[in-house]
Amino acid sequence: MSSRTLTAAASLSALVLLAGCSASPEADETSEPVDGGTLVYATGDAEPTCLDPHVGGNYPQALISTQYLEPLVGRDADGTITPWLATEWETSEDGLTWDFTLRDDVSFTDGTPFDAAAVKANIEHLQDPDTASSTGYLAVEQVSEVEVVDDAHVRLHLSTPKSALLEALSQQWTAIQSPAGIARGQEENCRAPIGTGPFIVEEWVPQQRVTLVRNEDYDSPGPEADHEGPAYLDGIEWRFIPDAATRQAALASGEVDVVDNPLPSDIAAAEGLGFTHIDAPRPGASNRIELNTAQAPFDDVLVREAFVRAADPSPGIESLFLGAATRSYSPLSSVEPLAYSDESLFVTDPDAADDLLDEAGWTERDDDGTRVKDGERLTVRFPVSTNQSTAAEQSLFEQIQANAADAGFDVVLTPVDLSAWYGALSAHEYEAVSAPYTTVGPDVLRILYHSDGTVPAPSGYFANHAMLRDPELDATLDAAASALDPDERAALYADAQRVVLDSYAVLPLYDQQNHFLVNGATGVTTLGTVATPTFVNARLTD
């Protein structure tokens, strides 16, 4: 279905909702929160194929596993690392040894005590090729040995210093599970991983729901918890509703209490309907268009700058997202404390774009206005993954396409499924691309812009789509990755971002969108790590 159909359906849905529900939005304000009851959460993300986020490691797994697994450390809204299952940590001078002090009063929900041996078992599980961990594996790649000092102390030995270690360990993809649970084997552990979290996986009926029940012995409150002890809810019914209009209808009719991935129009209508809107941008990289610097025409910095001057995404972001997204001028998400932003580099200037293209030798134009040089048209192949780009974002790309056409670019947008998109990247059949990358901390810059990232992984994937190969940038990113002094680290990441932005190979658009709408519940918050919701404080208000 085209983006227009979806947009039409979306506006229709907003209209009908307004018409149907305007009568009773005040109802929620008078109802008091109650303890107990089952909250129904409806996700539009794909259903995980495995509930253990060590296996593979994608966002849907982070979303649900936040309810039953907890990481060693947390991160608050300011980006400060906080204690969680580990209470204290210390780094050696050379950054190669990390000592963690663990809570000694926490047990997994199967009764297995949480201790140093459990941490060791988890890191080894992440590193075991049979686990097929991707995201979690990257987080603990540099850990060469896990030493059990005593029950409450564990020592990690690293092969190279890693300043992002704590950020990496705060991610849900490295959260700690019961060693006894892991020992049951992958098949069983995928169905019901065992953790220390506020809820327990009771049952998974594929394509329908995961039933989560309260952990009565819960006693390891994370940074978002407002109280000690177990959650207020009896449980959560986690449902999979792929269609956004259906999710919204289910929310409006009270069939579900919380939804994710609402459409921009539904977010805009939320307040009038008495829904609570939670805006929780994802950390890591911002959503951005990357220009392939490894091949014509974007191997010429003049042409890249011309594209940036001509693209003019801001009006589109404002109109298409209806206020739900703010323009970004940084390669990093606005929730990253070390994000560096420079608006002056991205001023829209069609005249300058024309001059730059003239200067670069693209002086002629063919019949449809596309610039030509030595018989070559100024074509920009832009494969768009329909699995990752929302309807609003695809419309934004169409506007950018139209704006760039005025300057003489022929931007060919090709909507494709994830696999074909991935294939186009591997074959370098792209000049422009937009790819999300969620992780915690500025180390994502090394993943995305270090020249190591131009070399495909065994699976064919490479993260450096801009194909930046700058030895100085590499050196800065390497130094930042091992810098343990916070000030030095911040300065190095600022330098790196300046280099990336100055290259005109990246056109930042907005933060990775993460929105939740709540109807009939209070106390829903999101973690400062990958912005997944936690229901430890949640109460129903019916």
Binding site: V16, G56, A132, Y137, E187, R239, D243, T246, S253
Partner: protein
């Protein structure tokens, strides 16, 4: 023995369909992406080299493509559909879990489509005079509109009206709860009903004017008796012949409806598997759907044989192609 030959031809046809489908799916999925993605947690995964190699060996992806294809065919033909790449569970088990839900949906939708079609046809043919012509024209209009109505759109509108605005029915559907089945069944049935109604109304009109109806009336039979004993039976034949096609249509419509109403089922399983390049699951699901489809076509032929005594003559006329053109 004509019946045996007839059955053999049907089974041969089914095998051919499954073979074509399996081959197409195999090469289409392989041409557009590497199934290793599905095995290793989806695109973008940066699995370690050891994990990639182990997976390649484990799933036989290190062998030549032709060998993999032949192995896949062998598995399908012996009904060893293997394990899903993404879910690491048996394909037969996964499909077995989801199939009843889809079959229930499709069966109810077929029944409703039939009801709507017959009621529509009877109303259209039994109204007389100017009012009758108006009703007839109106019904024809409704039939055409419902036939071309996209299920995605129809379903969305039904959800918005009956779930979000009126709050009468749930927006999502799971299991056998009658209330939650209403909207998906209606969404699925309406376009089929329009098609069946068009065909059966014309046949009903034809039967109504046929000599046997006139004879019955001349012998003093009441209108409802003529309808129930004679004309309706005659009119149901072309629609019955189409029921096999309708069932196939329902199975493909199930993909849209199951995604829209978040209903479990083989359609949604297939959609997710195709997105993930989960070759064994897609081939398994499609093969089972193809077998089902052929089985239903055979079944409707058999029912046709029961309803229409003329087909039970010396020549097995059921071997002929359906004489009603099927729109695409």
């Amino acid at each position: 023995m004509p019946a045996l030959r007839w059955i053999a031809a049907r089974i041969g046809g089914a095998l051919l369909v499954v073979w074509i489908v399996a081959t197409t799916v195999f090469f289409a999925l392989r041409a557009s992406g590497d199934p290793l993605e599905a095995i290793l947690g989806g695109p973008g995964s940066q699995a370690s080299p050891e994990a990639v190699e182990a997976a390649r060996r484990e799933y036989g992806l290190d062998r030549p493509l032709v060998v993999q294809y032949l192995l896949q065919l062998w598995r399908v033909s012996t009904f060893q559909l293997g394990d899903s790449y993404a879910r690491r569970e048996s394909v037969v088990g996964l499909i077995g879990q989801q199939l009843p839900s889809t079959l229930l949906l499709a069966a109810l939708a077929l029944v409703l489509a039939w009801l709507l079609a017959v009621v529509g046809a009877v109303i259209a043919t039994s109204s007389r005079g100017i009012a009758g012509r108006v009703v007839d024209a109106l019904l024809r209009g409704v039939e055409v509109v419902s036939t071309v109505m996209p299920q995605f759109w129809l379903g969305t509108v039904l959800i918005l009206v009956f779930a979000s605005s009126l709050g009468l029915l749930p927006a999502t559907s799971a299991g056998n709860d009658p209330a939650s089945l209403v909207l998906p069944v209606v969404t699925l049935a309406v376009p089929i009903a329009g098609f069946l109604a068009q065909v059966s109304r014309d046949a009903l009109l034809e039967a109504d004017a046929a000599p046997f109806a006139t004879t019955a009336r001349a012998r003093g039979a009441a209108e409802h008796r003529v309808l129930l004993r004679h004309t309706l039976r005659h009119a149901s034949l072309p629609a019955l012949a189409l029921s096999g096609w309708a069932f196939g249509n329902l199975l493909s419509g199930a993909v849209v409806v199951e995604v829209l109403f978040a209903r479990p089922g083989i359609g949604r399983l297939l959609q997710e598997a195709a997105m993930a390049r989960d070759v064994p699951l897609v081939i398994g699901a499609v093969a089972i759907v193809a077998v089902l489809y052929v089985a239903v076509v055979v079944l409707t032929d058999a029912v046709e044989l029961l309803v229409d005594p003329r087909l039970r003559g010396p020549r097995p006329r059921v071997l002929r192609a359906p004489d009603v053109a099927v729109g695409s």
